[in-house]
């Protein structure tokens, strides 16, 4: 399978890649089983649940070569949580696989030094963000295709947009920050330097596993996913005559539309908080925080 990546500073041999792949697969698989058991809190259609423990695959792509780790994690989800639990979506799984693997690979390339909490935080948010944006795009597209003449059914396009918006914010906050960013910032520096000797190779350093070309590609991907997301949503709204963005007199009367703005502002607040937190961490880590390394 994964042929050695070109332009890579540190080449891993086939069995080392297999090792990373299997490790990432089993760990994320088991994490998915655990999330099935964690209780959910539903508040009407708004559901507060942990959909996945994003910190596990994120830690894997930050610590090891990103490609095998990024390919292993979604496969683990498919095999362990979906196939074995009878929740297999067939071709739909392929879509999830591509989205998640792409998001993880890009996140892994963004990290230069696994001891830098700032890099881990940014890469975690970008990783979960790409995954969620792509899945929103695909979800809306699916309903678009699945229901004939969708714009003729009053209420459905708006309701789908609102539900997708709520789930996007919910996933970013719960899976992205609470179970992605925070545990990853705790876990990755602790594991770095300890786990590699167990697997029989040297810890990741600045130059390992990434080349300038790949990083440019990763940044390009981040932007293109974002623009696809914005483009798709606005196209959907235009096609379906949904008027969220246009300020209309009766706008305030409609509770549901306010609801969407609540979601949007929540997302903006989270973003601002994240930026503030990151700059705070940057200050605290620059004031002398030696990296922890066993050995």
């Amino acid at each position: 399978m994964p042929n050695p990546i070109p332009h890579q500073k540190k080449e891993l041999n086939q069995s080392q890649q297999l090792m990373i792949f299997v490790l990432s697969m089993s760990l994320f698989g088991i994490a998915n089983i655990i999330t099935e058991i964690v209780p959910e809190f539903s508040f009407g259609p708004v559901e507060f649940s942990v959909s996945y423990f994003a910190f596990i695959p994120l830690a894997m792509v930050f610590l090891f070569s990103p490609l095998p780790a990024a390919l292993g994690a979604p496969l683990g989800e498919i095999i362990f949580a979906d196939l074995l639990m009878g929740d297999f979506g067939g071709i739909g799984e392929l879509e999830g696989f591509i989205e998640f693997a792409l998001a993880l690979y890009v996140a892994g390339l963004l990290v230069k030094n696994p001891n830098s909490r700032k890099q881990i935080a940014i890469a975690s948010l970008v990783g979960v963000g790409i995954d969620q944006m792509l899945s929103t795009v695909v979800d809306i597209g699916k309903v678009w295709v699945g229901i004939e003449e969708l714009e003729a059914v009053p209420g459905v396009p708006e309701s789908i947009l609102v539900l997708e918006g709520i789930s996007f914010v919910n996933e970013m906050v719960i899976s992205g920050v609470l179970f992605g960013l925070i545990p990853a910032m705790w876990l990755v520096p602790r594991l770095h330097g300890k786990i590699e000797p167990l697997m029989g190779f040297a810890p990741r350093e600045d130059v390992s596993f990434r080349s300038a070309k790949e990083i440019v590609g990763a940044r390009f991907l981040v932007f293109s996913v974002f623009f696809i997301f914005v483009g798709m949503i606005s196209e959907f709204m235009a096609e379906m005559d949904v008027n969220f963005a246009v300020w209309q007199p009766e706008f305030i009367e409609q509770f549901g539309q306010q609801f969407l703005w609540v979601g949007v502002s929540a997302a903006i607040i989270v973003l601002i908080l994240a930026v503030m937190g990151i700059s705070y961490l940057k200050k605290s880590s620059s004031s002398g925080n030696p990296s922890r390394k066993a050995q």
Binding site: M1, S15, M19, V38, V153, F179, W186
Partner: protein
Amino acid sequence: MNRIRQWLSKINVETIKIELMNTAYGERTTLMAKLDPRVAIIWYLLFAILPWLFWNNTILIGMLVYMVILTALSRISPLILFLLCFGLVTEAGYVIFTALFFGGDLTAAAALLTFTMKLTIISLASIVIFTNMDPERFSDALLRFKVPETFCFGISYGYRMLPILIDEYQNIFNSFRLRGRFPEKKGVLAWRYVYHFCVTAVKAFYPMILNTAKRTRTTVEALEVKGFTYGMHNPEAKELKLSYLKTTKKDVLFLGITGVVLIAIIYTGTLYPIERTIHQL
């Protein structure tokens, strides 16, 4: 309601473990299990794509009935079926609820019924196939279809290792609970308990990751001793490994009957279509 609570209380680590063991090692005597895995995969792909091509409710109902009959024949665990139904009903319910909120009416429900039916057909097809197939046979069939070797290995490895890994995680989690201190106060909405549980669940992954890393290294070394990478890239070795996969009369019969049933469903569907009348705004 009581019944549902009873069902929900059954969803815990033990039940899931038993369910998984059953899928991974259970006896396979049903019709679908005896099929050639390649035929089963082709059959599955057929039913994963076909529902998307029809908006005619008669055809979809026909396919659904066919799937329900096959599900009944395959003796699927009631827990898995319950989870499936629960998910589908709540999903559609939420969308209808919000649609009514935005001034929609019951046409929304009718439109969504078509959509939900498509999803149900696909989910039932996957349940019928994948909870009945031997993981080894499944991964060999994928290998035959030229899926990368590492993925095929991942499938058979996953099925076998999962119960062990769950056990290990459970042990670590319990030892964390034994040594840790449970919060004294509940807090609003028992948030302290929830927080404690979540932190323990995350922290338990630290030893788990290190243990699994060691185990993975042992596994891969053992595989390489047996010449895994070499064997997988050697066409002769692959041929030898996959030579037992053979299509029999039973497979041909099964595909034939499916074809006849499908043609009958589509024919009846075009004769007596039930289609949603589209209200123009």
